[in-house]
């Protein structure tokens, strides 16, 4: 495979395209509403109505507007139409509308703020390319970035470009990607590994699933470029077992890339070789933590270990290992193609580029959005999301899942970037954004997350193993209206202790939902408290202050 071959594939594929393209979303969301039957019916109907020569019915990945699915997009004469809530029996109407005439299906508005305010880098090909055909990806310029990196850039230049872009890890912590790559590149060792973290454990988030299902090659290309930059020849893509469709599409993508010589030995006839293997998770939230994930890749219990040594020095089987999230890798080809400076021009001073969010919960328009960093939260939930349904008002927005916090409605003008969200006691997280309306009980939400962390705690360190159970019990006591001010003080004390003494990120962030709801919705907790029969007011001993402060 050389550049000419790549261009030839792209040209040949473009030449074989038909006049009208009917794109059927076949991502997990729409698939659950018979998207596969819809596609089949559309194909049959195109044949029956004699449009076979002009119409291509294409399987595509996520279009983003999952709440309105199943979705069908039509590209005809340079115009784009979107049909929403499509049913299998709507196929004849959609096909006959291609010849002019009305369609009985609900028409979506591509100019709706939900779409208009988005900016696509990671999801540029979502809903456009067929995820199971590598030619589709090549036809829109896929693998050109890898070619450019391999033939025209030194590994150090690739690292420099990524550093210049200001890209930060999209998984959770927001660590500068270029710095991480540079550390792995400099680590001594003949064998190095690349790991792609697709263990999207945050309940309420599906960005990585969507990217893997819609555009698997963009992730593979990013991983290959990273491997070249740091000097690795083996990669592992760790995906949750809960995402069977993503796994099967990745398997297809890897096979196709290998057949064309875009993965494997001697890529683009250079000395660079790179193989990717899929590792399937088995349902453990803690495996999103990098050291736990590596243990899982090695086939062990997914328990974390203390850092340092960091994976960049000693990772898989003791070798230097680069771990990045799916979305981080998906940004790489655009950065190489268009330059780090271009990427650094998007977003805020310290948070560059775009971020994909899964906008869900009590909101009118839910689905997947990609927005430039720094966009005010209000624009996302009110303009793009359309606010809360059923005439209710928004009470808070939860970001970061079980490690994050709840941002109350009066802070909606906060710009969405790493620093601003951290300042409010929440985090950017991986991109879950769950909207809660005024009917939501915040103490119940805190309890929900604590139950999650309690069950997902791996049990290795005591603060997390025992602390989450105690915190859950206290929250349960509060919601049952059996707790006193003393219990609340104990809860706060435990939050502080677990946060500061746990081994890994799971325990260190487990108290966050409680801390943030206590910060902004303390009244809801206090309303549930009972008078303390042994408290100072009743003549009992005061809460021992020396124990609390110690």
């Amino acid at each position: 495979m050389q550049l000419d071959d790549l261009i030839a594939i792209a040209e040949k594929h473009k030449g074989s395209r038909k006049k009208i393209i009917v794109r059927t979303c076949m991502s997990a969301g729409c698939m659950s509403s018979q998207a596969d039957v819809i596609k089949k019916n559309l194909e049959t109907e195109a044949r029956l109505q004699g449009l076979e020569a002009d119409v291509e019915v294409r399987r595509v990945g996520c279009m983003g507007f999952c709440g309105q699915g199943p979705l069908v997009g039509v590209d005809q004469n340079g115009e784009h139409n979107l049909w929403e809530f499509v049913k299998p029996e709507d196929a004849p109407s959609i096909i006959s509308a291609l010849k002019g005439g009305a369609c009985r299906v609900q028409r979506g508005d591509p100019k709706h703020p939900f779409f208009a305010k988005q900016m696509h880098i990671v999801r540029a090909n979502g809903g456009i390319v067929d995820p199971e055909r590598i030619e589709d990806y090549i036809a829109i310029g896929g693998y050109l970035a890898l070619h450019h990196a391999l033939t025209e850039l030194q590994p150090a230049q690739v690292v420099e470009e990524v550093t210049k872009s200001g890209l930060r890890g999209r998984g959770d912590a927001g660590f500068p990607t270029g710095l991480k790559w540079g550390t792995v590149a400099k680590s001594p060792g003949a064998k190095k590994y690349i790991v792609c973290n697709g263990d999207e454990g945050d309940p309420g988030a599906f960005m990585d699933r969507s990217v893997l299902e819609s555009d698997p090659h963009i992730v593979l290309e990013g991983m290959a470029i990273a491997a070249y930059a740091v000097g690795a020849d083996q990669g592992y893509l760790y995906v949750r077992a809960e995402y069977p469709l993503a796994i099967s599409r990745l398997q297809i993508a890897i096979k196709q890339a290998k057949q064309l010589g875009l993965l494997g030995a001697g890529i683009f006839e250079s000395p660079f070789s790179f193989n990717v293997d899929i590792r399937i998770g088995a349902g453990a939230f803690v495996c999103g933590e990098e050291t736990a994930l590596m243990a899982s890749v090695e086939g062990k219990r997914g328990t974390p270990r203390p850092r340092p040594p960091f994976p960049a020095e000693s990772g898989l089987w003791g070798c230097p290992t680069l771990i990045n999230n799916v979305e981080t890798f998906a940004n790489i080809s655009a950065i190489i193609n268009r330059g780090g400076d271009w990427y650094a021009g998007i977003g805020t001073e310290k948070s560059k580029g775009t971020k994909v969010f899964a906008l869900t919960g009590k909101i009118k328009n839910n689905g997947l959005i990609e927005v430039p960093m720094g966009i005010p939260l209000r624009q996302i939930v009110e303009e793009m999301g359309g606010g809360a349904p059923d005439g209710r008002s928004i009470k808070s927005v939860q970001t970061g899942g079980p490690s994050g916090g709840c941002i109350p409605a009066n802070y909606l003008d906060t710009p969405v970037d790493y620093e601003s969200l951290t300042k409010l006691g929440s985090i950017m997280g991986s991109g879950g954004m769950v909207v809660m309306d005024d009917s939501t009980n915040m103490v119940e939400i805190a309890k929900f997350y604590m139950e999650f962390c309690m069950e997902e705690s791996c049990g290795k360190c005591i603060p997390c193993r025992a602390g989450t159970v105690q915190m859950f019990n206290l929250l349960e006591k509060i919601t049952r209206r059996q707790a006193t001010a003393r219990d609340l003080a104990k809860l706060e004390e435990l939050c502080d202790m677990v946060k500061n003494t746990s081994l890994c990120g799971l325990g260190q962030t487990a108290p966050n939902p409680v801390i943030s709801t206590l910060k902004f919705f303390r009244k809801e907790y206090e309303e549930l408290l009972q008078p303390d029969p042994f408290g100072p007011a009743a003549g009992g001993a005061p809460l021992a202050p020396e124990r609390v402060t110690k």
Binding site: A282, G283, F285, G299, K300, G302, T360
Partner: protein, 173 residues
């Protein structure tokens, strides 16, 4: 520690005796292990396959895997019990998996569970006495756009209600 060289390890394990029961599924599982060159780090992949073949992981099966991969049984048992996805008990004929991700939760997934629990008198993780239905929960299946989602025998269904779930389960029982 680096993984053991696959060739030697694989040869020894492959030359081991087949499972005494003569059940063909053990043969298939062994072929799968061979595909992974009997590598010890493929343990999770092997357990996935074992569960796919047998439905759940009983002690005898875990011991078989341990012997073939030359791992201590404690290590295999430890991994099988660590991950939620692995079932150590037999499951019912049909599985109803209610997603309990945040988006599903705020949209009433707990009410769906409550409805099923009340009607069939089983808690999440349990199977009915007639072995027809297992009620399970998932920690987010990534279908948040269509919350609340329930998986019936592997098929994801969007925007569920307690009524819809009970209606669907009725067709099984």
């Amino acid at each position: 520690m680096l993984p053991k060289p696959s060739g030697e390890n694989g040869k020894n394990a492959a030359s081991g005796l087949p499972h005494s029961s003569g059940d063909k599924r053990f043969k298939i599982l062994e072929l799968h292990m061979k595909k992974h060159q009997f590598r010890q780090d493929a343990l999770i992949e092997v357990l996935h396959k074992a569960q796919e073949l047998f439905g759940y992981l009983e002690d005898d099966l875990l011991l078989f895997v341990a012997t073939k991969l030359k791992l201590p049984p404690s290590r295999v048992y430890g991994v099988a019990t660590f991950y939620h996805f692995f079932q150590l008990k037999p499951q019912g004929e049909h599985a109803c998996v209610v997603c309990l991700g945040t988006a599903c939760y705020v949209k009433g997934a707990d009410k769906i569970i409550g409805g099923i629990q009340e009607k069939y008198k089983i808690k999440s993780g349990e199977t009915t006495a007639d072995n027809k239905l297992s009620l399970l929960t998932a920690r987010c299946i990534g279908a948040c756009g269509i919350a609340p989602a329930v998986t019936y025998d592997g098929q994801v269904a969007p925007k569920q209600t307690p009524e819809a779930a009970l209606e669907k389960i009725k067709t099984w029982i």
